[in-house]
C-alpha cells in the first residue's frame, strides 16, 4: 500500500467547495419549498444502520454497501439510500400516525464504487415517500410533485420516462407460462439494457413465432399515449389489463396536473431487478450523461419491516441536478467586505449591522491581516476601505 498524500480522499469521495455548496443550497431550498407546500414532512435518519435490516432490504446491491463493525461485532452499513430507513421508521415509530403518510428527506447516501471517475461514493438525494396510498392517484401525485420541484429549481428541459413492471411480468407469464428461468433471463436482459441479447434469447426459446414476435414487440413499446393500444393488444391477461388501466389512469391524472408533456412511456423500462412492483420511472436531462432521478411503487419493502402497505416515491440526485442547471441557478450575490483598522472598527460594526439588516452578507476584516488587498478583494461583490475614511476617536 502506498502512503496517502495529505490531499487525498477515499475513492469516490468529493469535497463540496463554497461555490458548489451555494448551488446545491439553491436546489435544496427550491425543491424543499415545493415539497413542503404539498404537505410532505421532512425527516432524517441515522447515517449508519444495521446490515441485517436496512442493509439487506435496500435496493442497493450488497457489493456497493460500505460496511463496518460496531463494538459488539454487528455489521453496520452507511445508508445506501433513504427509502429503506424511512420504511423502517414508517413501520415502527410512525405506524400509529394513520396512513397515507407523506414524508420527505434530504440527505447523503453512500455507494462503494470501483475506481472510476464520475461515480461518486457519497451523494445527496432529495426525495419523497407516499406510504399507504395504493392508487394511481398516489403514483401521479409523486410524479407531478417531482416535475414541479424540478421546474422550481429552474430546470426547463427534462424527460420523465414511465414504465410498469407489472405489465412486463404479466406479458412474460402469459407468453412463457411456467418458465421461470426464461422470465428471469428476459428481465435481466432488459435490466442490463441489452436488446441484442434479449432478441437472441427470444429466438432460442421453444415457443410459437407469434409469441416471439410479441416478446420482441415489447422492445418497441415506447412513446406517448399511443403505446397503450399496442400494449393492450400484446397482453390479454388480467394482470396486464390492470397494469394498462393503471397507466392510463396515471396519464389522465398527469394531464389534470398539467405535467403530461414531460412524461413519456417505455414499457420495457426495468430500473431494478426486483425492487419495484408497479409503476416506475426515471428522469433525464439532456446535458447530464446519467440518471437524474428515479422512483416508483414498491410493495414488498414495507412488509419486510412488518408493515402491510404499499408506497411510492422519488429521489433526485442533487449533484447531477446542479450539473444539469449548469450555472443557471447561480443567483447568489456574494458578500460585501468592510476593511477596517483599530480606529474604524466600531464604525464598521455599526455599518455591518445596518447592511445585514437589509439582507446583505457582510464580512468585517481588519486590514492588518490582509497582505494583498487587491487579491483579497476579488472574493467580494464590493469592498469598502473604511480604514482610509478614518474614524472619530
Amino acid at each position: 500500500m502506498t502512503k496517502k498524500l495529505m490531499f487525498e480522499k477515499p475513492l469516490g469521495m468529493r469535497d463540496t467547495l463554497p461555490f458548489f455548496h451555494n448551488k446545491k443550497e439553491h436546489v435544496r431550498k427550491n425543491m424543499a419549498q415545493v415539497i413542503e407546500s404539498h404537505g410532505y414532512q421532512f425527516m432524517d435518519t441515522p447515517l449508519v444502520e444495521y446490515h441485517e435490516t436496512v442493509g439487506k432490504m435496500s435496493a442497493t446491491h450488497d457489493t456497493h454497501l460500505f460496511k463496518l463493525l460496531d463494538q459488539q461485532g454487528h455489521t453496520l452499513v452507511l445508508r445506501p439510500d433513504m427509502t429503506a430507513p424511512i420504511a423502517r421508521v414508517a413501520a415502527s415509530q410512525l405506524k400509529k400516525e394513520g396512513f397515507p403518510l407523506r414524508l420527505a428527506y434530504d440527505g447523503s447516501v453512500f455507494r462503494a464504487q470501483q475506481s472510476e471517475a464520475g461515480k461518486p461514493a457519497q451523494f445527496e438525494q432529495v426525495g419523497t415517500e407516499l406510504i399507504g396510498d395504493h392508487s394511481s392517484y398516489g403514483d401521479a401525485e409523486v410524479i407531478a410533485l417531482l416535475i414541479d420541484s424540478l421546474k422550481q429549481t429552474g430546470l426547463e428541459e427534462f424527460v420523465i420516462t414511465v414504465g410498469h413492471i407489472g405489465y412486463v411480468r404479466s406479458l412474460f407469464e402469459e407468453l412463457l407460462p411456467g418458465d421461470q428461468d426464461a422470465v428471469a433471463a428476459l428481465l435481466s436482459y432488459l435490466h442490463r439494457k441489452n436488446y441484442v441479447g434479449y432478441e437472441k434469447y427470444v429466438r432460442s426459446l421453444g415457443v410459437s413465432q407469434e409469441a416471439k414476435d410479441n416478446l420482441n414487440a415489447l422492445l418497441r413499446l415506447r412513446g406517448g399515449e399511443g403505446v397503450f393500444e399496442e400494449a393492450r393488444a400484446l397482453s390479454k391477461g388480467q394482470a396486464g389489463l390492470k397494469a394498462m388501466n393503471d397507466l392510463k389512469q396515471l396519464y389522465r391524472t398527469l394531464q389534470e396536473y398539467d405535467v403530461a408533456s414531460f412524461v413519456q412511456f417505455d414499457l420495457n423500462l426495468i430500473s431494478h431487478m426486483d425492487y419495484y412492483t408497479g409503476i416506475l420511472f426515471e428522469g433525464y436531462a439532456p446535458n447530464v450523461g446519467a440518471l437524474l432521478c428515479n422512483g416508483g411503487r414498491y410493495d414488498t419493502l414495507l412488509p419486510s419491516f412488518e408493515l402491510n402497505a404499499s408506497a411510492t416515491g422519488f429521489a433526485v440526485h442533487v449533484e447531477r441536478l446542479v450539473e444539469a442547471l449548469d450555472g443557471a441557478s447561480d443567483t447568489k450575490k456574494g458578500p460585501l467586505c468592510l476593511l477596517v483598522d483599530d480606529a474604524t472598527f466600531k464604525a464598521g460594526l455599526q455599518e455591518a449591522a445596518r447592511l445585514r439588516q437589509q439582507g446583505d452578507q457582510v464580512v468585517i476584516q481588519h486590514i492588518d491581516q490582509v497582505a494583498d488587498v487587491e487579491k483579497f478583494s476579488l472574493k467580494f461583490k464590493t469592498v469598502r476601505e473604511m480604514y482610509k475614511e478614518g474614524g472619530d476617536r
Binding site: 427534462f158 439494457k193 436488446y195 441484442v196 432478441e199 413519456q264 436531462a285 440518471l291
Partner: protein, 211 residues
C-alpha cells in the same frame, strides 16, 4: 438548430465497415475520416459530429454521455459491463473469443494460469465451468504466453485462427461469438429519441433485424 448528434466511431480495422453501414443507412460520415488525423469530424449539413476513438474506448465515451451513440465490439461490452443500451447487432467484424493453448496439454492442477486481454470474460467463463484459475493480464501478443510457459491457456479473440496455427497453438473451447454492436447512452436514448430511433430503425433495416 438542435445540438448535433455525436457518434463515437472505432478507429482502424472496423471503421471502414462501420462507416459503410452508416452510409447505406443514409448517414454519410465516412468521407476522409481515416486519412485525416482529426479526432472530431463535423457534418453540419446532417447535424452530426463524429468522434474517432480507440475501439476499446468507444463504450466509455458513450457511457459518460460524451457521445450519444457508438459502434463497439461485443468483446469490449462483455469485458467492461457498462451502463449503455445495446440496441443492434451490426453483424460486422465477426470473430469469437476462445480458449487456446499448446496441444495435448491438460490444465495445471495447482492454480491454472490464463493469460488474456479480457480478464473479466476469462474469469467469468472459468467460474461458470467451476474452475478456479489465476489471470495474467497482457495487452497484446497473447499467443506468446503458453509458448514460453507463462500460462497454461490463453483467452483471446480469434478471427481466422491463423495466428494460433502459426504459433503451434490449438483452440480448446469457444467462449462466445463477437460482432460489433450499436450502443446508445441511456440519457440520449430518452432525450434524443426523435433522432436516435430513426437511426436505429434504418441501421436495423441494413443488417436485417426483422429477416
Amino acid at each position: 438548430m438542435t445540438k448535433p448528434l455525436t457518434i463515437a466511431m472505432p478507429k482502424g480495422r472496423i471503421f471502414e465497415e462501420a462507416a459503410g453501414l452508416m452510409q447505406q443507412a443514409g448517414y454519410d460520415i465516412g468521407a476522409g475520416a481515416e486519412e485525416s488525423r482529426k479526432l472530431i469530424l463535423e457534418f453540419p449539413e446532417q447535424n452530426i459530429n463524429v468522434m474517432m476513438a480507440k475501439p476499446m474506448d468507444v463504450v466509455t465515451y458513450v457511457e459518460y454521455g460524451a457521445a450519444d451513440i457508438g459502434i463497439a465490439g461485443k468483446d469490449v461490452l462483455l469485458e467492461q459491463d457498462r451502463d449503455v443500451y445495446e440496441v443492434l447487432d451490426l453483424k460486422i467484424s465477426p470473430c469469437y473469443i476462445a480458449v487456446a493453448g499448446l496441444p495435448d496439454q491438460p490444465l495445471s492442477r495447482i492454480a491454472p494460469k490464463i493469460a488474456t486481454k479480457y480478464p473479466k470474460v476469462a474469469s467469468d467463463y472459468y467460474r461458470e465451468q467451476g474452475e478456479q484459475i489465476e489471470i495474467i493480464p497482457l495487452n497484446g501478443s497473447i499467443e506468446l504466453a503458453p509458448l514460453i510457459g507463462l500460462s497454461d491457456r490463453i483467452v483471446d479473440i480469434v478471427s481466422t485462427g491463423r495466428t494460433l496455427k502459426e504459433n503451434g497453438l490449438v483452440e480448446y473451447e469457444k467462449i462466445t461469438e463477437i460482432t460489433s454492436r450499436l450502443i446508445v447512452n441511456p440519457v440520449s436514448y430518452r432525450t434524443k429519441s426523435e433522432r436516435i430511433d430513426p437511426l436505429i430503425e434504418k441501421m436495423g433495416e441494413q443488417v436485417g433485424v426483422n429477416s
